[in-house]
């Protein structure tokens, strides 16, 4: 037998082994519960329910196919690679690249237009709030009764409740974390987020294991502890658009979560988690435009609703969204459009409302060596989500808002914070931001802890603004934010 034939056999045999091994791995270790994909703006399938009914109606078979596809190893990278391959067929690439390039060039021109200068290590601030910033109102009362029971589990859920806790190797308490006095967290229970379908059936969307909720509370307490006495630690976890769009379309009529109540009950004074679900639900039911159709982010309108709810906790009466001025772009094509060409035929362009700042906001990008370059705030471009803050730049952002109120805040988030920050700007003298997901937070490069940054810049309030995809169950919150504190 020739060597060529043997090699051919081995190659094909190896391919079959690869296919079979992959299938076995997915069956054994694939995530059994549905989970969100930020890349694709939808819920990925969990393992289908096996019953006589689901076999008879084909639900198990189609569910298994979805499970295998949705839980493929490195799925995001594979999907992007397939999209890039498909894009090779297109002559439209240059125009797509041009759209992005144009925005990037504007961002770069902001970033490179100014010579580096050194940030003062301590920015003096007026200790007394002026007329623009009334004294903070009381937050969630400390004596809010702790929930005695976890809410009833839905009778029939698509998701097993035993979602595994993520790896916690990074979730060590920081060496410089101050000693904390905390409430007894031993009675904290698992939390869940559910949706109610139009037929009344409840479907679990996320589960938050007790251990993660406890870590989350400790993290919020730890951040609160490095803030001044009148400072606040706010947390918003906006729901993922796939779920929200189900509500907007009428498939789901409601959603519920006990996470926020649990956190607010057990966390220390000055910590408050807003229920973004509760804030957005009436607007979604009202068919308002809270999530883009062609992009995986929320709209500025949704961000404004949540920002305003948090500002109300400070006793501020924030300006309603419709009273702001915007430049409206009617033909915005977002990330889903560009990444999934096969879905383009069914898409209609989005409308992007780019905020027109009321004061001359000056943006900065600050490096680890404390040098800073000018950075964008609002980019007058309707072709990309980068219109808001120029996207994620870092490691630190600073916005001098031109508002003379003496208070500063730091927003720690994922890309959802880009739409959120502009609505804080009218109420803070400086707004700082960071997104620790990105590469510039590789450990060897980190030279400034978040607590040092907070102290040097005399930050009063900290906001965590993270979509559910980067939220409580992820290393981002319960791992990195501990490490970098």
């Amino acid at each position: 037998m020739s060597m060529k034939r043997k090699l051919s056999f081995l190659l094909l045999y190896g391919t079959l082994v690869l296919f079979g091994g992959l299938g076995a791995l997915l069956l054994l270790f694939g995530e059994k519960a549905p989970h969100a994909s930020l890349t694709e703006n939808r819920m990925l399938a969990g393992f289908p329910q096996l019953s006589a009914e689901t076999v008879r109606d084909g639900g198990f078979m189609s569910g298994l196919e979805s499970f295998l596809s949705d839980n493929m190893l490195e799925r995001d990278k594979l999907v992007q690679a397939a999209s890039r391959l498909t894009a090779l067929f297109s002559l439209e690439q240059p125009s797509e690249a041009a759209a992005d390039l144009e925005v990037f060039e504007q961002v770069q021109s902001f970033a490179q237009g100014t010579e580096p200068e050194t940030v003062p290590t301590a920015v003096p601030s007026s200790p007394a709030p002026d007329a623009h910033t009334p004294a903070p109102a009381a937050l969630a009362p400390a004596d809010t009764p702790a929930p005695t029971d976890a809410p009833d589990r839905p009778d029939e859920t698509a998701v097993p409740a035993d979602t595994e806790a993520p790896a916690t190797s990074a979730a060590q308490a920081p060496s410089n974390a101050p000693a904390l006095t905390e409430k007894d967290l031993s009675t904290v229970s698992d939390c869940i987020m559910t949706c109610t379908e139009k037929n009344g059936k409840q479907r679990m969307i996320y589960s938050f294991p007790k251990a993660n909720v406890q870590r989350m509370i400790r993290l919020l307490n730890a951040y609160r502890a490095v803030l001044p006495e009148d400072g606040h630690m706010f947390f918003a976890q906006p729901p993922f658009p796939g779920v929200a769009n189900y509500i907007r379309s009428g498939e789901y009529i409601s959603w519920e979560s006990d996470l926020e109540a649990t956190i607010n009950a057990y966390a220390n004074d000055g910590v408050y988690m807003v229920s973004a679900l509760d804030v957005l639900l009436p607007h979604l039911l009202n068919k308002e435009y809270l999530y883009f159709k062609t992009d995986h982010h929320w709209t500025p309108r949704a961000a404004c609703y949540v920002a305003n709810e948090l500002l109300r906790q400070l006793g501020i009466d924030p300006k309603p969204y419709d009273e702001y001025s915007f430049t409206v772009y009617k033909h915005f094509w977002g990330s889903i459009y560009w990444n999934q060409p096969e879905r383009r035929s069914s898409m209609m362009p989005d409308t992007l409302e780019v905020l027109i700042p009321e004061t001359p906001v000056k943006g900065w990008v600050i490096q680890w060596d404390r040098s800073r370059k000018e950075g964008p705030f609002m980019v007058p471009n309707g072709q990309s989500y980068y219109a808001y803050l120029g996207g994620t730049l870092g490691p630190w952002r600073r916005f001098d808002t031109g508002v003379d109120c003496g208070r500063s805040c730091l927003v720690i988030g994922d890309s959802y914070d880009c739409c959120f920050i502009p609505f804080l700007a009218p109420y803070y003298e400086t707004v700082h931001a960071t997104d620790v997901r990105d590469a510039y937070y590789d450990f060897p490069h980190v030279k400034w802890s978040i607590s040092e940054y907070i102290q040097e810049n005399q930050i009063d309030d900290v906001y965590f603004v993270l979509s559910t995809a980067s939220g409580v169950n992820t290393d981002y919150l319960i791992g990195y934010l501990y490490r970098f504190l």
């Binding site: 060529k4 051919s8 056999f9 079959l16 079979g20 299938g23 008879r56 493929m72 035929s345």
Partner: protein
Amino acid sequence: MVFSGLTFLLLFLPALLILYFLSRDLRWRNGVLVVFSLIFYAWGEPVMVLLLIGTTLFNYLIARAMDRANSAAGKRLCLVLGVIGSLAGLLYFKYAGFFLTTLSDLFGFRLSFNAPRLPIGISFYTFQILTYTVDVYRGKTPVQKSFWRLLLYVSCFPQLIAGPIVQYSDVAAALDQRSTAMEDFTDGMRRFLLGLGKKVILANTCGSFLLSFLPAGTAPQSVGGAWLGGFLYALQLYFDFSAYSDMAIGLGRVLGFSYKENFLYPYLSDSPTAFWRRWHISLGSFFRDYVYIPLGGSRRGKGRRILNLLIVWALTGLWHGAAWNFVIWGLYWFVLLVIDKDLSKLWEKIPRFLRWLFTLVAAVVGWVIFYYTDLAALGAHLSAMFGGGLPWMDDGALSSLRQYALFLPLACIGAMPIVPRLKQAVQKHPGLGCLGTVFAVAVGLVSLLFLVQQSYNPFIYFRF
């Protein structure tokens, strides 16, 4: 279950091949294959798998009775019963609704008949089992004494759902004795992976391209859009169906079966007759051997030949679907084939390029008829193709053309015999070693990449 699904590729196929090749004895191998084939079918038709088994059992018993019958009349009676019994399921599930609706439209009465859902592959396996019963009647093949082997012939998963239509006599010997040499395994797997790529990369992209400017239920907005739509559907149909045949033939070879070719680059044909010798060859062979020739073929004069052709093409149209557009499509080809045969001497005097162009255009027009079950929409599309007061090109088609501009040449190349020629070239250079296998594996892996991105992507011919 579909070949181009992750359940098949990652779970079913590896599990089947492990168990199949671990079984040394042919009886065990047949057993493994029957069980997996029934699972394969039941995956898509958990209830209708009983119909498949029932139809096979019925024909098994009929053939056994035929074998035992002492008189020609008895054998003929068994044949008639077998044919009627086999076709009954097909007639009920596929045509009852169509005929009743047509009758009610003709005679103006109202009836409430909920047409049942068409079981997947019923047209294919009904014809396959008929070849067995008829061949036993003709004495062309001995009766199969083992029900399980007959069930294996009918249900054998590579060709079960969308062909090729394998005649019993072609595989009767392999049911009793077969083996898989290393060459069979490598050639079969290569063929399978290339077929997978043809389906996932070429056919599905053609479908996306078509839908990007001509979504279902919409009419073309320009002459160019209408022709582009027809051309793309022609390519999609070819890639989709021939890919399934490639995968079936490849898997058959891995399992020790030798299935005949079903497609031979039909869009290179230079006459309608040549086209149908290259397109869905197994269906053409079935109608030739089991309808056209028994009706007398061309031996009973010109008039009878034309009548036989008319019957064959009306049936061919109806076989593809219970709707009037399929009947029109069959008659369209009947007219073209009659003209082709009668004017063949004149036809050959035309330059080959023009003959090829005419055949290609005729095929595209044929596929447009095939595409629309709604006759009004069909009329609108055909009208658009030939003017219809529309502009030459519309923005939607142009935009899609830009979006898929580089795919179109690739698809055209894919419809030509490039792979066999490359294979020949590689074989002439031993230094190139197993380049063909490397290419097939690469195509398989890229297909897997596409499948992770794509959702359910069934084959078009499943509905026939």
